[in-house]
């Protein structure tokens, strides 16, 4: 297979149980290079679980993950991040009592070495501000604790962080949930722009209208199973809605 045809991500026969709940029942899922995938389904369909497996939060109970054709095992989110997979989590992975810049670089702090590796707080402040500005978010002081921000601003900080670190794939789990219409449009614009840069993204949502305009491919999950996978040309909003609601 040539590199071009090898999917960026291929998840094969993924199963996941949570106690007696059979959350994922043999799901196949793939993402190509520079592709926007809309992952849709009703609440509880298994979308977030599938994405948490792809970002290394849970291991699958059965199944394999391939990254550019090579089998990978994610033992922690760090392993996925190191491959360039960045995730914007639904519950916004920010620590309220910590400052914006410390949150921005959480787990990937910038250090300078004086023999002792100390945090480069100045650079962390500057870089996080840069990341926020790139998203059109104007926050004056990156030292402000996240708990002082509004819901939309928090979502913005988490998104800016994911955008700053993404290299190959950006997973967005319900990214427009806490956002105004105007802010949501902005997020969609960013995802489109990522595609132009050759970066793939997965847009998880329970509302097909949020993703239809930008998706290349739409995957429908229902009760832990994949019930449909379509190129956008082959389907319509009505058809997808019917798939989500009928099963």
């Amino acid at each position: 297979m040539s590199v071009k045809n090898t999917p960026l991500i291929k998840m094969v026969n993924i199963h996941k149980w949570f106690g007696r709940v059979y959350a994922l029942q043999g799901v196949d899922f793939s993402v190509n290079n520079a592709e926007v995938v809309g992952l849709v389904g009703d609440n509880g369909a298994g979308k977030s679980t599938l994405m948490k497996i792809l970002s290394g939060v849970y291991p699958p109970d059965v199944g394999e993950i391939f990254f550019e054709g090579k089998k990978v095992m994610f033992r922690s989110p760090k392993d996925a991040m190191e491959l360039g997979i960045e995730t914007l989590y639904q519950d916004i992975a920010l620590v309220p009592l910590m400052s914006i810049s410390r949150n921005f670089f959480l787990g990937r702090e910038i250090v300078k070495s004086f023999g002792l590796k100390l945090l480069d707080l100045k650079r962390m402040d500057d870089e996080s501000l840069k990341g926020l500005n790139a998203l059109g978010l104007h926050i004056a002081d990156p030292k402000v604790p996240v708990e002082n921000l509004s819901g939309g601003q928090r979502q913005g900080v988490a998104l800016a962080r994911a955008m700053y670190f993404k290299r190959r794939l950006l997973i967005l789990d319900e990214p427009t949930n806490n956002l105004s219409v105007k802010e949501s449009v902005k997020v969609l614009e960013f995802v489109t722009r990522l595609k132009e840069q050759g970066i793939s993204s997965i847009f998880v949502t329970h509302n097909i209208h949020h993703v239809y305009s930008i998706a290349d491919k739409i995957v429908v999950l229902s009760h832990g199973k994949k019930v449909g996978e379509y190129k956008k040309e082959e389907t319509s909003i009505d058809h997808i809605v019917e798939m989500i609601t009928s099963s």
Binding site: I92, V95, M98, G107, E109, L118, L119, L121
Partner: protein, 322 residues
């Protein structure tokens, strides 16, 4: 307006309110009994505070990471006794101390490992640890105190006098506080400690090994408890089986008075350092003004509640002013 701004900025320093309370308390005792600030009494305060403050520093870091350690008082008593047992078996005092400090880390490792792997609250794990290590201390000694005589070089290193008010234990206390401040505020690990205690799930998905962070904090807590116990035993020339009784509550009180949150994710070692001095000032001051010593617990209890309310109120006020 300008003055108000300056005051507000000062209050924003997390340790401001506790510093003010401490200074006011010192003045209060001084006004009632000037002997309180006599050189000999100040010297007493400065030599007793470190051995109880050092364990409180470890507890603070652990509390920031979102866990408790009720076992430090027992470890504080057990470690010096363990040293005497090692020395009775022909091990040199230097090596015995190194071995005992290493063992204290293992104790913390055990508490931490059990807590994170089973998912039971650390309150329970370390409550068990508190009873177990005290039990071991009593079994070893049959309840009798033991002489604690070690090499003079170590005595000098741990508790030697430097000048009129400065002794080695004070230097250890401040040095450990400074190192921990540096780790918490300026190192990656510190960032992970605050994140682990502040919102564990967020820390985890950002790739932080929160179990490892917690275990290391448990180890630090036990290590510093052992360290403090050794200083006290050197100072008293004795290892007592009931040494450090109630220290766990004193340490948590000092941490909380200094602004450390019981929920995790917030706190500073500087706050605890001042909080520890306040506790000792109240304890010592009551003796100096000849109040019955039983009053100590009553006042500390009140100070804990007042300090937390004050911190809470100031934090709210600052939030509104941003």
């Amino acid at each position: 307006m300008k003055v108000g701004g300056v005051i507000l900025r000062l209050l924003k320093l997390k340790e401001a309110s506790i510093t003010i309370i401490t200074l006011a308390t010192i003045l209060f005792f001084y006004s009632l009994q000037p002997i309180f600030l006599s050189p000999s009494n100040v010297n007493t305060l400065l030599s007793i505070t470190p051995e109880l403050g050092i364990p409180a520093l470890g507890v603070t870091v652990l509390m920031i990471a979102g866990e408790f350690d009720l076992s430090i008082g027992s470890v504080f008593g057990f470690i010096p006794l363990f040293i005497t047992v090692l020395m009775e078996n022909g091990i040199s005092s230097e090596f015995a101390i190194i071995l005992a400090l290493f063992s204290s880390c293992l104790v913390g490792l055990m508490h931490g490992f059990i807590t994170v792997k089973t998912g039971i609250p650390s309150f329970i794990t370390t409550l068990g640890g508190m009873l177990i290590w005290r039990g071991v201390a009593l079994i070893i000694t049959g309840g009798q105190p033991k002489y604690f005589t070690i090499a003079p070089s170590i005595v000098k290193l741990m508790t030697g006098s430097i000048s009129k008010f400065i002794n080695m234990q004070l230097i250890w206390f401040f040095a450990i506080a400074m190192i921990l401040w540096l780790i918490l505020e300026r190192c990656r690990f510190g960032n992970w400690v605050y994140a682990t205690g502040g919102k564990k799930d967020a820390a985890r998905v950002m790739g932080i090994n929160t179990d490892m962070v917690k275990i290391l904090c448990f180890m630090l807590s036990s290590f510093l408890a052992g360290f403090g116990g050794i200083i006290q035993s050197i100072r008293l020339n004795t290892a007592l089986p009931n040494q450090g009784t109630d220290l766990e509550f004193d340490a948590i009180a000092a941490a909380v008075i200094g602004g450390t949150s019981l929920m995790g994710g917030a706190g500073t070692v500087i706050g605890t350092t001042i909080g520890e001095f306040l506790s000792r000032v109240i304890e010592n001051g009551l003796i100096i003004i000849r109040a019955p010593s039983y009053y100590f617990r009553l006042y500390i209890g009140m100070v804990v509640i007042i300090a937390v309310i004050l911190n809470f109120y100031i934090a709210k006020k600052i939030k509104r002013s941003v």
